[in-house]
């Protein structure tokens, strides 16, 4: 190790694979003191360090050393019994790095002693080595009783040993073939006692392991929360977020409303503190806050200002903040939020400007008393004539029309003046929808449509679909007009005869038949009263949210997807039922299926079909490595179905709506929200989407 400390820079010379191979072979002869081999190996290590891929040499290096392994083992064994605990620990650690049967064999025996070593440094190292041994040979580790020995270490007197044992058991438990790691109340309390003396990393392991404890009584969860809440004040941001994760988890098993409110209140400030750190930490915090406030809206309820963007924030921070601002917006703060959004609409970054403009429209839809001011703001923005601003404004105004029918149609002429500015499919389709839907209020609607259809054959499908529907609507409104008659005929002919896209063709045929069979009924269908858009739908489904929050702080919470679906080595998590679990969480419980359990196969035979086992695999068991998609309610469980099941659940959770907790999500469902299937109304609005996503076609055009 470092025989020439500080002078090793001379090894940093780029070499070729071939040369090293030759040198390795040459070094095997006449090299009793291993000096030649050492030199070559150092050069290779230096080259790896410099980023040269030395992996082709792997076999050569192993060959060069393999016959020496058995020579080394005795000295390993000797070191395992050294007087110096550092040497003993280093010996087993090094052995655990070499997953060769002879070494594993030798390690197994030594590990048994080291786990009971009188020195805590050796014990803590040994604990981690058990996880390594388990990776190398799971069955050997189990037969050797190592998992039990690790469990014994959970009660060790040294906090670092305890936390390393927890880390090792967790690692084993997260393996698909591993021994499941569960905690009972006694052990969980013992771990909590070690929490205070652990290093920050140890605290994270111990806190995280509490997810493996399922409270059986409300009071157990409540007492535990009271014990860990103090760790919200830790300087290490990961400790803070892990503590929050556990608090959120325990709250699922609590009954004491006061305590839950208190916890929610306590979680706000540390989250805000995370926002004073570097942009990287801010980003992780923001993505988590976005999840947390959907489940526990009272957290940070009055802190929307904290999320106002600074112009030099990195774009990923800005977009995440924007989404949270929208979520926290309500009547009391709508004015401030709108003023900020208007400010952002004049910023430099185009992507951000677009999202800001859309957010103004979303704000209008979400907070009714602010709608007038938002519409005025959008009109002011259209005045600027900046193309991308105008386009975004048109897109959101379309939704505003649907949210407040009969209220803002007076601004249609202003929109029509800007028709030429629209060159993107989404905004064009939105404008065409407006022209078709309100053709009776636009004097020159047929002229406009005539112009718009001029390029029909060159337009993308979503615009073509919009044109088709709009032409039909125009015809129904103005059946007497020759222009509209000619227009609808022309468009239907194109759609059914010239276009290859089956959706467009099918829709064309459908309209054609409708119009041919009974134009009056066609009018009633096409211009039927549309359900108004609400913003309830862009919330995440409660069961999915409960599950995602078990991943607070982790990759899953960044991408808002369960990690086992998109990341290697990730284990799924699910709330576990217990008498203490709050009834609403139980209703929407998404059970977890271990991927290695094959789904039950039903062989058809005589007799009635067996009842479908609901618990087998509602979650697709195969971990599909798909890139994280946005948190669309669409790919989770349908919002409408959860709304049904939530009926009448409210009173178990809260006495009144003033808590504003997501537990009260049930309340609007009493009116059986008919618009829940509009879940994708904001599909592409998700300002915080970290990955590109597939285009969200305007499929609900009529």
């Amino acid at each position: 190790m470092a025989a020439q400390g500080g002078q090793d820079a001379k090894f940093f010379q780029r070499g070729k694979i071939q040369e090293f191979r030759a040198e390795l072979q040459a070094a095997e002869a006449k090299d009793k003191k291993f000096t030649k081999r050492k030199t070559v190996l150092k050069k290779i290590v230096a080259n790896i360090t410099m980023g040269n891929d030395m992996s082709p040499l792997f076999t050569d290096v192993v060959q060069c050393l393999a016959e020496q392994i058995h020579l080394v083992i005795p000295s390993f064994l000797q070191d395992c019994n050294d007087r110096n605990p550092l040497i003993r620990a280093l010996a087993i650690r090094t052995m655990s790095y070499i997953p060769i049967p002879v070494v594993t064999e030798a390690l197994t025996e030594q590990l048994r002693h080291c786990l009971k070593d009188r020195d805590p440094y050796v014990r803590k190292t040994a604990a981690i080595c058990v996880a390594k041994l388990y990776t190398a040979d799971p069955r050997k580790a189990e037969k050797g009783g190592f998992v039990e020995m690790l469990r014994d270490l959970l009660l060790d007197s040294n906090a670092t040993v305890v936390s390393n044992a927890v880390a090792a058991l967790s690692e084993i438990g997260d393996r698909q073939d591993g021994v499941i790691f569960k905690l009972n109340l006694t052990v969980a309390n013992k771990l909590l006692a070690a929490l205070g003396e652990s290093s920050e990393w140890g605290q994270i392991y111990i806190l995280d392991s509490l997810l493996r404890y399922v409270p059986e009584r409300h009071t157990d969860a409540e007492l535990m929360a009271e014990r860990i809440i103090i760790h919200l004040q830790h300087a290490n941001s990961a400790v803070v977020l892990t503590t929050i994760k556990i608090l959120l988890y325990l709250m699922n098993y609590m009954e004491n409303r006061k305590l839950m409110d208190y916890i929610c209140k306590k979680m706000g400030p540390p989250l805000v503190t995370l926002l004073s750190s570097g942009p990287e930490v801010q980003y992780v915090a923001l993505r988590n806050i976005l999840l947390i406030i959907q489940r526990r809206p009272s957290v940070l309820k009055n802190d929307v200002k904290v999320f106002f963007c600074k112009y030099n924030d990195p774009i990923y921070v800005k977009l995440a903040k924007l989404e949270i601002m929208y979520r926290l917006a309500r009547e009391e703060n709508a004015r401030e939020v709108l003023a900020e959004l208007q400010e952002y609409a004049s910023e430099v970054d185009i992507d951000f400007v677009r999202k800001a403009v859309r957010s103004i429209g979303r704000l209008a839809i979400k907070v009714q008393p602010a709608a007038d001011a938002c519409i005025q703001a959008l009109l002011d923005l259209i005045e600027t004539k900046v193309t991308y601003v105008v386009q975004e404004a048109v897109i959101v105004i379309k939704d505003v029309f649907r949210r407040y029918p009969g209220k803002y149609e007076g601004i249609i002429p202003t929109l029509c003046e800007n028709l030429d500015a629209l060159d993107e499919p989404e905004s064009k389709a939105a404008m065409i929808w407006i022209v078709g839907q309100f053709a009776n209020r636009i004097d020159n609607a047929d002229e406009l449509m005539d112009d718009l259809t001029y390029t029909f054959m060159e337009e993308p499908v979503e615009v073509q679909l919009a044109l088709l529907t709009a032409a039909v609507k125009l015809f129904i409104y103005k059946a007497q007009s020759d222009t509209s008659k000619a227009l609808v005929h022309k468009v239907l002919k194109w759609a059914t005869e010239e276009v290859d896209n089956p959706d467009l063709r099918d829709r064309g045929f459908m309209y054609w038949r409708l119009l041919a069979i009974n134009p009056t009924v066609a009018g009633e269908i096409v211009l039927a009263e549309k359900p108004a858009i609400t913003t309830d739908s862009d919330r995440m489904d409660r069961g999915a949210l409960d599950q995602l929050l078990l991943h607070t702080g982790t990759l899953g919470s960044i991408y808002h997807k369960n990690p086992e679906t998109f990341i290697r080595n990730a284990a799924g998590k699910a709330l576990t039922d217990s008498p203490a679990l709050n009834p609403l969480s139980r209703q929407v419980l998404v059970p977890l299926s271990r991927p290695n359990i094959p789904p039950a196969i039903h062989v058809p035979g005589p007799g009635p079909p067996p009842p479908r086992e609901a618990s087998v695999s509602p979650v697709p068991p195969t971990a599909k490595p798909a890139p994280p998609a946005p948190p669309q309610t669409g790919d989770l469980i349908g919002a409408s179905s959860s709304a049904d099941t939530l009926d009448g659940e409210g009173e178990n959770e809260h006495e009144s709506g003033e808590h504003g907790d997501e537990d009260s999500l049930a309340s609007p469902s009493g009116s059986a929200d008919p618009y829940a299937n509009l879940d994708n109304a904001f599909g592409s609005y998700l300002a915080d989407e970290p990955k590109p996503q597939a285009d969200d076609h305007l499929t609900r055009l009529f």
Partner: protein, 427 residues
């Protein structure tokens, strides 16, 4: 919950140090490095690259992610998979960086290469092969990995091992307190507290404060012998909210009576961080006023800025006002008040205006024009002003007393305040 490994890249994006990656294929780190360099080159500004980069295809290892931070010319990557917490990775990277700083002083590709053996030893001790952070406390680390200067000295005598020879009284991990060594000795016992506060604010064009907050840190330099147990009390701790503490602080005691009770680590550390929330008034005032008008024309524009101090006794030092002139800005020409200077950085397209000292109630002005290749220039809608106020704290936090128990000596205590500000002023 484990970190797959750590990689350090130089300024050109080439790896100079990387940890073991024993559980993955050799291509795993390389694919991440490639993905990161790719993302950096695609981002409009390197700072805009996603800090938790999703790496969908890493060959046989499956999808994973890469957390990265830039410090100086170096970029530190923490590779991760599974149900790992990115904050945990960032926290570890931050810790490792501060360890490297402590060992080598300035961080550069050169120093890391020169001392790559020490760097690897540090990696080995701080992040074990399973990806679990282990010993990260500087005090404990220095017992097992000797800093470079000492190392070479010891080696020249002993000649073999890089391990510190465990002396009788400095046995590693012998200390019952993980952050403090046993047997620390100083000839003069002293402890210094540096209260550093930063005002962060956003101000609208009328001078109204939209957001303002003060964040404080108590930097501590402890040079005390033995195992002192300290009790630090403030005369006005009430407005301190959202506090977070070094692990040495007894949290229960703070929640009870807002006193800090702790056995300090040896050397430098951050004792606590807090947010200052003044009672009654909503905002902490911004200590200066900015009047600005910016007009954009075709291929350029003009601006007129006046800055006035609102302080009555103290001086604002190193005031730096900057304005991003927008994509395509090529040059600027300005007239400024005496004792101030300006420059335009064509690379970042930022105009800087520097005022060494803004004495109480004084005013300064900046007038000028800029040209741009953009027909309709879009300069940012806000100025950024940064400044320092030495010997000042926004919170007027005062140390009341420091009691020491467990040791007989009477230490020298020093308390200093300093403040900085970072204000976004919209126009």
């Amino acid at each position: 919950m484990a970190i797959d490994g750590l990689v350090i890249l130089d300024s050109t994006g080439r790896p100079i140090v990387q940890s073991g990656f024993r559980s993955t294929s050799p291509a795993y780190p390389l694919l991440h490095i490639e993905a990161l360099n790719d993302a950096l080159s695609k981002a409009p500004r390197p700072a805009d690259a996603d800090p938790v980069l999703y790496v969908p295809n890493t060959g046989i290892d499956g999808p994973s992610a890469c957390c990265h931070v830039k410090r100086g010319e170096l970029r530190f990557l923490g590779l991760m998979s599974g149900d790992t917490d990115p904050l945990y990775v960032f926290a570890f990277l931050e810790t490792f960086i501060s360890i490297l700083r402590d060992y080598f002083g300035q961080l550069s590709a050169e120093t890391l290469k020169e001392n790559f053996d020490v760097v690897y030893q540090l990696l080995e001790e701080t992040l074990d092969a399973g990806g679990h952070p282990s010993t990260t406390s500087i005090n404990a680390l220095k017992d097992i990995v000797l800093p470079p200067s000492l190392l070479s000295k010891v080696l020249s005598v002993a000649g073999v091992s890089g391990l510190a020879s465990p002396g009788t009284n400095s046995h590693p991990f012998a200390s019952p307190i993980p952050w403090r060594k046993v047997g620390v000795r100083y000839n003069s016992n002293e402890i210094f507290f540096d209260v550093a506060e930063e005002l962060k604010a956003v101000v609208n064009k009328n001078g109204g404060i939209i957001v303002s907050s003060v964040w404080g840190k108590v930097h501590t330099n402890c040079r005390l012998s033995g195992t002192p147990d300290l009790l630090l009390s403030f005369s006005n701790a009430q407005p301190l909210t959202d506090c977070s503490f070094h692990p040495c602080v007894r949290l229960q005691r703070w929640s009870r009576d807002k006193n800090l009770s702790f056995v300090p680590p040896d050397g430098r550390f951050i004792l606590m961080e807090y947010k200052y929330t003044p009672g009654g008034v909503h905002h902490v005032a911004v200590p200066f006023a900015l009047k600005a008008s910016v007009d954009c024309e075709v291929n350029g524009g003009s601006f007129d800025v006046a800055l006035t101090s609102r302080l009555t006794t103290k001086v604002l030092e190193n005031m730096n006002v900057e304005l991003y002139l927008g994509e395509g800005a090529t040059s600027a020409s300005c007239v400024v008040s005496n004792n101030t200077s300006w420059n335009f950085d064509p690379r970042t397209r930022i105009l800087h205006w520097n005022i060494k000292a803004v004495s109480p109630s004084s005013s300064f002005s900046l007038k000028g024009t800029f040209s741009s290749t953009a027909e309709q220039p879009r300069p940012s809608h806000a100025f950024r002003a940064r400044f320092e106020i030495p010997q000042h704290s926004f919170s007027s936090l005062k140390v009341d007393q420091l009691k020491i128990t467990g040791e007989m000596y009477k230490p020298y205590k020093g308390v200093r305040g300093r403040s900085t500000g970072d204000v976004e002023w919209r126009w």
